[in-house]
Symmetry: C2
């Protein structure tokens, strides 16, 4: 017989999941109802309404998919693309690359716009790639980019790319897994046609659902497909009926995860998006001030940094894995390692949702200073405190 | 602002989800750890070991997919099939039909073996369909069938079909969404090559994960594919690495749902599979005795009935929806409606996992008798009690 689950107390300052509000944990211990129960149906409506507020959209087709953020990415690609379609996809880290791979598996011809890790993509490059495809008689079905590249901590400006996509008749697709509810994101105002996110980042809900939203143009595109979506599970024309007024049975929605999302959205909207963004921004700035006082260097230029995901260069001759292990074992603090070309070269410190607190900023600075044997830990804490004390 | 979640107390006697053990609800309120945390990695290992016990298999590739049972179906089909492959699929209700649809979306040519709802498929029909395909030079890649057809309550015998599939060189695929942990299922002894289930039926865990298991032959088939799996999210060659020793990052596993599955598997194995099957069988027999004393007729012949899903014919002139609504509103009892051709014609009473209790048998009989204005409710309760009292 396997032993009872014993889970240590953690402070989650990695690339996600983030810490979960006690109200959300409590919501998950509520008994189950059926997925067609009138009470669950009412909950589905409230979840959709709150997701629209958080996405800043009026899109009717806005709902949480019954799988994690990566399935949201796949859902967007397999619903909007058909074999032979062309797509322009920005690749500035792991998740841009994954988008391109998923689009290829949907049968699309993908033009990748690549930049070095940690940088953002010049919108003009989208214009040029879209113009090239049009001149070849293969106008792109969509242009896609990652808003908050979790592998690097760089924030991709979206508005200009949205405008360019629209000019070229391409749907504008955005990965907002890490940005949603942590920094401004305007689905309607920025002309985003399809967007997916995850629950375990700035929404501070456990992983397991993927909020998605589709504009009328995207819905029209799905309706106009010439063949069925290759994924039955992620087919939005079926999911739209399950989550819509007709409630046509599709699958069994994860009841408890929807309780959790309902409560986490309430927590987010009680705080208010603007205050939440400001909290993320200030804690990020305090962290950066402290890290720099520790003698560490950020991996992304100041103007492109995300507030919720901070990539820090590992100093030469430092055993990065040993530092992470010490933080975890001594303090229960999780920070993230680098991926791909940044493996062993950066730490990724997340300050997402409930994890973005002044206390966590001071704590991770103190713990990092101790683990690296830094002599400037006091300075780092003072630098962070100074930012946190600003009116 | 949306109001706080208020969920009424329900007794879940429908086609799933089933009632969840308080220990499982409690496990879900534990704080989160990261999905790469050593404690979570240890949990993943224990979940895999317990799933092997419940599936009665030594299959190394046994794990819970991060989505519901329908995604398990899709994962099996898209990993084992490539465009142009042929498949023989038994269709005796909604879920057999769904299997065929999912296989077609994976590009397969599907031979459907259809029988009327409520019946089971004669194994010889698989032999004949497989022989026909072989004679056409298109031997089937797989033969698939639903063990417990949730839409009808009929149990499909598996051993003979497994033997026939093996003789024809086809992989044997089984849908065990509703049967796993509620009645005997022998993955290794019956030669099942790929099997998927859901958590919200006889495992009595909330919906959200799909346990799957693949034989060495199925794994070899996946390794020998000529093109990538069309679904990145459900690609078992990637998931195998994430859940295996190398822990290659794929997606973020639903942490809390895995806590729940860990605890529900412990509850299942503490009871023991044989005792659990016997409990399901006895409560089913008591329910049937009571329903028949109420003057109701089962929709499936006695020798083919599932213990966990009981389809009962709605008497002529009875408003079936009004009866279900009365059970829900007056007693908080959920029972299921009929689907497809059985819409309005049957009720589906589930006795799954934690919901399969003598108390629930008596309660649903009393509530049904009251709702239908039956004069034989006392007889029905006595008939059920007589079965429950057997030594």
């Amino acid at each position: 017989m396997e032993p009872e689950l014993q889970i240590g107390r953690r402070i989650l300052l990695g690339p996600g999941p983030s810490d979960v509000h006690p109200r959300v944990l409590r919501a998950m211990s509520m008994p189950l109802v059926g997925h067609l129960d009138p009470e669950f149906v009412a909950l589905m409506e409230r979840v959709k309404r709150m997701l629209r507020e958080v996405f800043r959209t009026k899109n009717r087709l806005t709902l949480p998919l019954s799988a994690t953020g990566s399935a949201g990415m796949e859902a967007v690609m397999v619903n909007l693309l058909e074999p032979g379609d062309t797509a322009v996809i920005g690749v500035a880290g792991v998740f841009g690359g994954r988008m391109a791979e998923v689009a290829r598996r949907a049968g699309a011809e993908v033009t990748q716009i690549e930049v070095p890790w940690g940088e953002v993509i010049e919108p003009a490059r989208f214009a040029s790639a879209l113009a090239t495809l049009a001149s070849q008689g293969k106008p792109a079905r969509l242009a896609a980019v990652v808003h908050a590249e979790t592998s690097t901590g760089a924030c991709q400006p979206l508005e200009e790319i949205g405008r360019i996509a629209r000019e070229h008749g391409a749907l504008f697709v955005v990965d907002a897994v890490t940005s949603l509810a942590g920094r401004p994101l305007e689905i309607d105002a920025w002309g985003v046609d399809a967007c997916y996110s995850g629950t375990q980042k700035c929404l501070s809900c456990p992983p397991g659902l993927s909020p998605v939203t589709f504009s009328d143009a995207a819905v029209e595109r799905i309706r106009g497909r010439s063949r069925p979506v290759q994924s039955w599970y992620l087919d939005l024309s079926l999911l739209e009926q399950y989550w819509g007024d007709s409630r046509v049975y599709h699958h069994t929605a994860p009841i408890t995860m929807n309780y959790a999302l309902h409560e986490s959205l309430r927590v987010v909207l009680e705080e208010g998006l603007e205050r939440r963004f400001e909290r993320h921004r200030r804690n990020h700035e305090a962290l950066v001030a402290g890290l720099e006082a520790l003698g560490l260097e950020m991996a992304v230029a100041a103007q492109h940094r995300l507030p919720m995901l901070n990539a820090v260069r590992v100093p030469e001759a430092t055993d990065e894995a040993a530092v992470r292990a010490r933080l975890l074992e001594r303090h229960g603090i999780e920070i993230g390692a680098g991926l791909g070309p940044w493996k062993g070269r950066v730490w990724r410190i997340g300050l997402m949702g409930e994890s973005s607190t002044p206390q966590n900023v001071l704590l991770v600075l103190a713990a990092l200073g101790e683990a690296m044997g830094a002599v400037t830990t006091g300075d780092a804490l003072a630098a962070a405190e100074q930012v946190l004390a600003r009116p």
